[in-house]
Symmetry: C2
Subunit: 248 residues, 2 copies
C-alpha cells in the first residue's frame, strides 16, 4: 500500500524554505516515469521559482494566496513541439496538429503531474493543484513563452507545509465505481450517495456563508457558474486552436 | 521515495488468476483519494471482469492481446452525469454541458487513474494503459452503456504479471523540464536529447523491422499517422458533442 496516496491533502499555507535541488530532481524524475503514449513523452514540466514570474502566475491563477506562498510552481503542458521538431529534423512529416494529438499529450502531462504530486508528498512536501491552469491558458502561455504545439493543462504549487489540515471528505466508493457496465443513478442513489456530505458541519457552514438552500446551489450559483464555464470554454478551445491543434 | 513510481513497466502478459475483492477495493479507493476540482469528483471508474464484455472491449481496443489476458479492465470516464443529477434534484441548475467542464472532468479521471495504476503496482499487480480509449470512445460508450455527460478518457488492464520486462527507456530529464519559462529547442538540443534513444539496439531493430531510415518515420508513417489522427480527432470531438459537452 502506498501510504502517501491515502494521506493526501491539498496544502494552502507554505513555509518560505526553498526545496533542495536534489529533492526537486527526484520529484521531476518521478514525473518522467509515468506511462506515456507510445513512449513519445509529449509533455513538458515548466518549473518556476523566480518571484517576479511567480507573481505573474499568481495574477493569472485568480490571485490565490498559496501561489505566492509556495516557493515552487510547476506548469504541466501538453507538448508536441519537441516531438514535431525531432520529426522534421529526421525526414519525417508529423501529423500531430489535431485534437486527438492534443488530448494524447494532455493525458501524458496529467499522468506525469500525479507522479510528481505523489513523489513530492512522499518527500515531505505539500502540494496543491490549481484548477485555473485551463481557465487562464492564454495568459500562462504569454508568461511562460509557450510556443505553438504547447498548451498548459495543469499546474501545481509545492513547498514545505505550514499547516496540517485533515483529509478532505470523499463520496462513498460506490458513488464513483460501476461494476461490469455503467448503472445510472436513481433519485434514491443520489440521496444516499450525497447524504453524509450534505449533513456535514462543513456543508451547513457553506449554506450559511453563501445564503443558499442546498450545497449544489453553492456550486452552480457561486463556484462554477454556467456563465464562467461558457466563457472559459470558448477561451480554452481558442487556445487549443491557436497553439495548432485544431486541424482536422 | 515511492519505489513503485520508479519501477513502473507496462505489463502485457498476465496470469489468469483473479484479483481478490479486498485488493481491488483498496486499488479503487486509491483512485478516489486523488485531487479533484472543487471536490466534485466528476469521474467514474467502470470495472469490467465479465469475459463476454471484456471480449467486446478487446475488439474496441484494436484487439490488443493483453486486454483478453488481463482479468480486470477499468475504464476511466469524465462524468458530470452524477453531479448534474444531484444538482437537478437539489433545486440547482447545472451549467456543465460545455468543453471546460468536459476537460475538468477528464483531469479528475486521469489523476484518479494514475493513483489506481500505482496502488495496483504496489499490490503486486501489473498494469497497462490502453491509448485506444479516446480513439474508440464511441464504441466503448455502447459497450459500457455510458449515458450523456459521460466520456471515456483512459483505460487500463490489470492482473498478476506473467512477464518481467525491464524499465522502458526515457529521454534525459532535461528534455522534459524547463527552468523558469519555456526555452525552445535548437537543432543541437534535439540531437543531444534523442541521441541515446536513436543509437539503442531497440531503435536499430525497429528501423530494420519497419524498413525506415529514421525512428521518427516509424512514428509518423506507421504508428501514429496523420490520416488516423485526423479520423480519430473528428470522431472523438463528435463523441464529446454527442455526450453533451459542446454547448458554449
Amino acid at each position: 500500500m502506498i501510504d502517501t496516496i491515502f494521506s493526501h491533502r491539498s496544502i494552502r499555507k507554505y513555509k518560505p524554505d526553498a526545496i533542495p535541488g536534489e529533492v526537486m530532481d527526484k520529484v521531476l524524475e518521478a514525473g518522467s516515469r509515468a506511462s506515456t503514449t507510445g513512449n513519445m513523452q509529449v509533455y513538458s514540466m515548466v518549473v518556476t521559482r523566480d518571484q517576479a514570474i511567480r507573481k505573474k502566475l499568481w495574477e493569472a491563477h485568480f490571485k490565490q494566496e498559496m501561489v505566492l506562498l509556495a516557493p515552487v510552481h510547476i506548469t504541466f503542458c501538453a507538448d508536441f513541439n519537441r516531438f514535431n521538431k525531432w520529426c522534421r529534423s529526421r525526414k519525417a512529416d508529423p501529423g500531430y496538429d489535431n485534437f486527438l494529438s492534443f488530448f494524447t499529450a494532455a493525458i501524458d502531462a496529467l499522468l506525469a503531474s500525479q507522479n510528481v504530486a505523489l513523489e513530492a508528498e512522499a518527500s515531505g512536501l505539500g502540494i496543491c493543484y490549481l484548477g485555473t491552469a485551463t481557465y487562464m491558458a492564454d495568459r500562462i502561455i504569454e508568461i511562460l513563452s509557450l510556443p505553438e504545439g504547447v498548451v498548459p493543462v495543469a499546474a501545481l504549487v509545492l513547498g514545505y507545509p505550514d499547516e496540517d489540515p485533515g483529509l478532505t471528505d470523499r463520496l462513498p466508493l460506490e458513488a464513483v465505481v460501476h461494476e461490469e457496465t455503467y448503472r445510472d443513478y436513481s433519485e434514491d442513489d443520489i440521496d444516499r450517495i450525497y447524504s453524509e456530505r450534505e449533513a456535514s458541519r462543513l456543508t451547513l457552514d457553506l449554506l450559511e456563508e453563501n445564503q443558499k438552500e442546498t450545497l449544489a446551489q453553492v456550486f452552480t450559483d457561486n463556484r462554477y457558474t454556467r456563465k464562467d464555464n461558457i466563457h472559459f470554454s470558448r477561451q480554452f478551445l481558442e487556445v487549443i486552436r491557436r497553439q495548432g491543434f485544431m486541424n482536422q
